[in-house]
């Protein structure tokens, strides 16, 4: 069996064993579904409530992608501005850090007071996702080979040429790593904000469905919604990892396969 196949088969086997054990225990002990639902019941609910759940999934994914796009554009643009103008970095970076280290769960209620709900949710998701892009872009742009920089200087390159031909390509691996983190965090930020907004009503995203199902003791639907959220997170991760691999496969160590 090839290594690749083993890497896929091992976790799948593990999953099968756990689900089977779960099913058997729930049935054997006759545990009621509002305590722990059997996996089969969760799947049934997932199918039965598919329309509702997928609509909610689309809402959450919509916010996630908007937040991610804004974080990507904002983080990279600000990272470039930091690199080009030291003054901008000096005056803004501390605030970016403060925004990052303040727990988003604590900021969310405040945002919900000042902003209309969809915008508040988007803002939360953006705050969480923005910083890793900024931090990684800044790091990447600052860690350019100093000899290459000297070479550009020797050939009288303008600062835009240095940015375009040297700094941006050199920073690409770090930028992509930042985007990969931001992808997962956008989803987390969206979910946190939806949960915080949940009590304020009017929400319809997946996290709201989880909160709502919890109040109604519809535990199987909670599990079904959770399953969809996880699947969305995994899909985002693989999408961005694939993108990163495509962009770096020709040259970067992280994307090269070596025989050691």
């Amino acid at each position: 069996m090839s290594e690749r196949l083993k890497n896929v088969a091992a976790p799948l086997c593990m999953l099968g064993i756990v689900l089977l054990a779960w099913e058997v225990i729930v049935r054997a002990a006759a545990i009621p579904p509002y305590v722990v639902p059997a996996p089969s019941l969760v799947f049934t609910i997932l199918i039965n409530d598919a329309g509702l759940l997928f609509d909610s999934l689309l809402v959450t994914l919509g916010i996630t992608f908007q937040a991610f796009a804004l974080a990507a554009i904002g983080g990279i643009a600000l990272g470039i501005a930091f690199n080009l103008w030291r003054g901008v970095e000096r005056s803004l970076y501390p605030f970016a850090v403060v925004l990052q280290v303040t727990p988003i769960v604590a900021i969310a209620p405040l945002l919900l007071i000042y902003l209309p709900q969809p915008l508040a949710v988007l803002a939360c998701a953006w705050i969480v996702a923005f910083f890793p892009v900024l931090a990684n872009t800044t790091l990447g742009l600052n860690s350019v080979d100093h000899n290459l920089l000297a070479l550009f200087q020797l050939h009288k390159a303008s600062r835009w040429q240095v940015l375009w031909y040297l700094k941006l390509p050199a920073a690409l691996p770090q930028m992509l790593a930042g985007l990969r983190i931001a992808g997962g965090l956008s989803l987390i930020g969206a979910v946190v904000a939806e949960i915080a907004a949940g009590s304020a009503g009017a929400g319809s995203g997946l996290a709201y469905r989880i909160a709502e199902s919890g109040y109604r003791l519809n535990i199987p639907r909670m599990f079904a919604a959770l399953l969809l959220l996880s699947a969305a997170g995994v899909a985002i991760y693989f999408l961005l990892a694939g993108l990163s691999h495509l962009a770096l496969r020709r040259w970067h160590e992280s994307a090269l396969q070596r025989e050691i």
């Binding site: 550009f152 050939h155 009288k156 031909y165 040297l166 390509p169 040259w251």
Partner: protein
Amino acid sequence: MSESPPIVSLRGVGKTFDSGTVALRGLDLAIRDGEFVSLLGPSGCGKSTALRILAGLSAPSEGTIKWSDAAAASRIGFVFQEPTLMPWADVAANVRLPLTLAHAGGADAAVTQALGRVGLADFAHSYSRELSGGMRMRASIARALVTEPQVLLMDEPFAALDEITRFKLNNDLLVLWQELRRTVVFVTHSVFESVYLSQRIMVMTPRPGRLFAEVPIDAPYPRDERFRTSADYAAYCRRVSETLERAMGAL
């Protein structure tokens, strides 16, 4: 040859870094047009700093640098100790870089010619990681040659290579020099390498570096492996070693 006027000269050049380290003090150098000259000295004697000052990458703290004509000052090729290639670009794009930055036309022909000169014609579309250390250095030299520079500044370019590769590159560099007749300033800490390559060796003192002595190597070109095993070569090496020895004691 030795009577031709200098293409560039340093007078009383000193360099003190922000850290307070005095790298150079009172350095006088004259480089003549078309010659192959080596700067030889122990590690940290400021020879790389002198080269960077010649390249205009670093400004002297004191003293002056004078070019015979202003055009020559901007026609410089620089080869670093490391190949310093952009890993995300293929060899051709790396070699083309100086022309790209200058928005120069006709780049393709110049790149092809430069790659041909260093024997990398078949590797235009390889990436740096796919090349051996010697081939990376060849690409780096091709990049320095692509602008047809008047002066080629080389900062211990072969120091990190194995001996067999270094000998091969030494020979190829001499062939190139004879073909192109550009001025080469070659920084090295190897007595043997400097004797093999140069017409003239400028021996520097330890830090703060200044010129200690000049040793002319009058052996004829073309030089090849026979020169490396000749009695002349051994005698020159002994003389340069002794001069370096005395330079080490002079402060």
